[in-house]
């Protein structure tokens, strides 16, 4: 299980970095999303993946006796997912507006000469 997740994690990071380095705005967006998901899997991995070991201490002991499923990484991922959901929603709207104004998908064309405002 861990090995599979590590492979997926590496793939997501590689694909994310590759897409961010492209010049297209849509690919930039996808790259950011893939990187975010890769990070979530990384956090998940670092909290010890075990099956059937809830983080509950039985009545005879005061501390954990065995490896247990750590709930904190899941809480962290949940927070990170919600945040990246909001960021992605904003990014989609922003890129759509930019596309409507600039009429191109190429990031290199986002250099309108200076205009000024207060």
């Amino acid at each position: 299980m861990e090995l599979l997740l590590i492979l997926v994690l590496g793939l997501l990071y590689a694909a994310g970095v590759y897409l961010i380095l492209r010049r297209s705005m849509v690919k930039l967006l996808l790259g950011i999303m893939l990187l975010g998901n890769g990070t979530n899997i990384l956090i998940f991995l670092l909290g010890n993946i075990v099956k059937g070991k809830p983080p509950v201490i039985d009545g005879n002991h005061n501390v954990f006796q065995d490896i247990y499923a750590d709930p904190i990484p899941q809480a962290l991922i949940l927070t990170a997912i919600v945040i990246s959901f909001a960021l992605t929603a904003f990014a989609i709207v922003l890129l759509k507006r930019v596309y409507a104004l600039v009429d191109t998908d190429d990031l290199d064309n986002l250099n309108t000469p200076e205009e000024e405002d207060i």
Binding site: I20, M25, L28, I32, L35, G36, T39, L42, I43, L45, L46, G47, I72, P73, L76, T79, A80, I83, A86, L87, F90, A91, L94, L95, R97, V98, L101, V102, L107, L110, N111, T112, E114, E115, E116, D117, I118
Partner: protein
């Protein structure tokens, strides 16, 4: 010492923003609420600072979960100083934006978002939990995205794409770093991590983790290879927004570097060399970029990058004197940079442009205000005894002691270029006559006296603070001295958060 009031700087802005959301599209009441809210926020910040100054660090456990299990909020000298500076800058910007911003932007929620931004800043300064720091960073960047795009002009949106992409990337790196840090220490509390990481054997892994933090905070604070988004986006939003960004947002990155690298990753030779290289290159690129710009705000953007290098160089040496210089420069920089962008907004109001070639004659038409602006510019350049001068003494002195001759060279080049571009700007904008082909459109003259005052008073207020920093440097040095002691020896911080039991093992 436990004190629940340390969350007041966060809550005051939260409540102000919520009340303003109820008063949606009522711009007059939003303006009053904003100025009132930031004023109360300033009073709260002064109280917090005074309390921390006299009684030492305060802390507060969220929901009474004891650290390291719950989220903890800590106000030590560094945090409370940063909260105080944020409140001062926020108060000034809030007054300025009540006149200096178009009505359209206010209708679509400028003020609530501005308060959410201030809330995020105060939260980031006060938290003692590394994941919570990430969450506050996200609050800051989401608010700043909205502020940057509000108005929806083409240039603004184009700048916002670069700003957004780089900042989300920075957050991803930061989160990756937190993930690995949790994996190796099993804790998220900064004080707790700083104890546990000392017992961790694999120093290479710790160094690699620290690279993620350097990348994340480096993008946020716009250091050398990662600064491109700043000059291509900070000149696009309205000046009131740019003032908040230029004054505070990059400095959050520096604050985070100071906090994380003083407690968790104590700089070793590798990190020190890395920071020093980055610092020198940041100063040089920022300085050379500033040389060729003719738009005032673009020039200021490059000066932000240049001066970030000064602070980073101080962190790279990581000695008491150097850290004193860094923190002093941080205090000076927040006040001056906020003021500079407000001044850019004033110039734009008076002349309708920010291009130096089309500007001129400001000294002839507004002599008193020009003299006021001159004081700010002199402070930025660092003419003794104004505020920019004192931190540079510390940085120079310690660079000599540590034989960092590249840094000394970069400091000299950076300071000279700052002097040169400011002198050029003064000559072009204030002394030169108005170019003949340019038609003046002076919106400032048409305003009623009260609105004129609302534009000038924030600049005057920040100038007074800057002059206080310069002329009463001994008071600032007392504060800075305590902060650098706290940064070098974090055991009081750890004792505040975890109590004495942390040192028993």
């Amino acid at each position: 010492m436990i004190d629940n009031h340390i969350l007041a700087p966060v809550f005051i802005h939260l409540f102000t923003a919520i009340i303003q959301l109820i008063a949606w599209r009522k711009t007059v009441s939003q303006r009053f609420l904003s100025v009132g809210g930031t004023f109360i926020g300033l009073l709260i910040a002064i109280r917090l600072f005074a309390k921390v100054y006299s009684e030492g660090s305060l802390h507060m456990n969220a929901s009474n979960w004891e650290a390291p299990f719950g989220i903890v909020f800590v106000a030590d000298m560094l945090s409370s100083t940063m909260v105080l500076l944020t409140s001062i800058a926020g108060f000034a910007v809030s007054i300025f934006s009540s006149v200096g911003l178009s009505r359209q932007r206010m209708l679509y929620g400028y003020f609530p978002i501005f308060h959410f931004l201030l809330m995020g800043l105060n939260g980031a300064f006060l938290t003692g939990d590394i994941f919570n720091l990430y969450v506050w960073f996200e609050v800051i960047i989401i608010s700043s995205f909205v502020l940057m795009t509000l108005g929806g002009r083409k240039a603004q949106l184009e700048g916002a794409v670069k700003y957004m992409a780089m900042n989300i990337l920075a957050s991803t790196f930061f989160l990756t770093g937190i993930g690995i840090l949790y994996g190796i220490t099993g804790s998220l509390n900064i004080a707790d991590i700083s104890i546990k990481i000392k017992a961790f054997d694999n120093k290479t892994l710790v160094d690699i983790t620290s690279i993620f933090f350097i990348l994340g905070f480096g993008i946020k604070s716009a250091v050398f290879p990662l600064y491109y988004w700043l000059p291509s986006s900070y000149h696009t939003p309205p000046s009131a927004v740019a003032a908040t960004f230029g004054g505070l947002l990059t400095k959050v990155g520096i604050y985070a570097i100071l906090r994380v690298f003083s407690s968790i990753f104590i700089p070793d030779d590798f990190t020190k060399t890395l920071f020093m290289t980055i610092a020198v290159l940041t100063i040089l690129t920022g300085a050379f970029g500033a040389l060729i710009k003719t738009n005032i705000r673009r020039l200021f953007s490059y000066l932000i990058v240049c001066h970030i290098g000064f602070m980073l160089g101080g962190i790279a040496m990581f000695t008491k004197i150097a850290l004193m210089g860094t923190v002093f420069y941080l205090i000076h920089d927040i006040m001056v940079k906020t003021n500079m962008f407000l001044i850019a907004g004033f110039i734009r109001m008076v002349r309708g442009t920010m291009d130096m070639h089309k500007l001129g004659g400001l000294y002839k038409h507004y002599p008193l205000i020009s003299l006021l602006i001159a004081l700010v510019l002199f402070s930025l350049v660092g003419i003794p005894p104004l505020s920019g001068f004192w931190p540079k003494i510390y940085l120079f002195q310690d660079a000599f002691v540590n034989h960092q001759y590249f840094f000394i060279g970069a400091l000299i080049v950076g300071s000279l270029v700052t002097l040169y571009v400011i002198a050029k700007m003064w000559a072009e904008v204030f002394w030169k006559d108005v170019p003949e082909e340019v038609e003046l459109e002076d919106k400032f003259k048409e305003l009623p006296l009260f609105k004129k005052l609302l534009l000038v008073v924030p600049i005057l207020f920040l100038t007074f603070v800057t002059l206080y920093i310069g002329f009463n440097a001994e008071n600032i040095i007392t504060v800075v001295d305590r902060i650098s002691n706290e940064l070098l020896d974090t055991s009081p911080y750890i004792r505040t958060v975890l109590g004495d039991k942390a040192f028993d093992q």
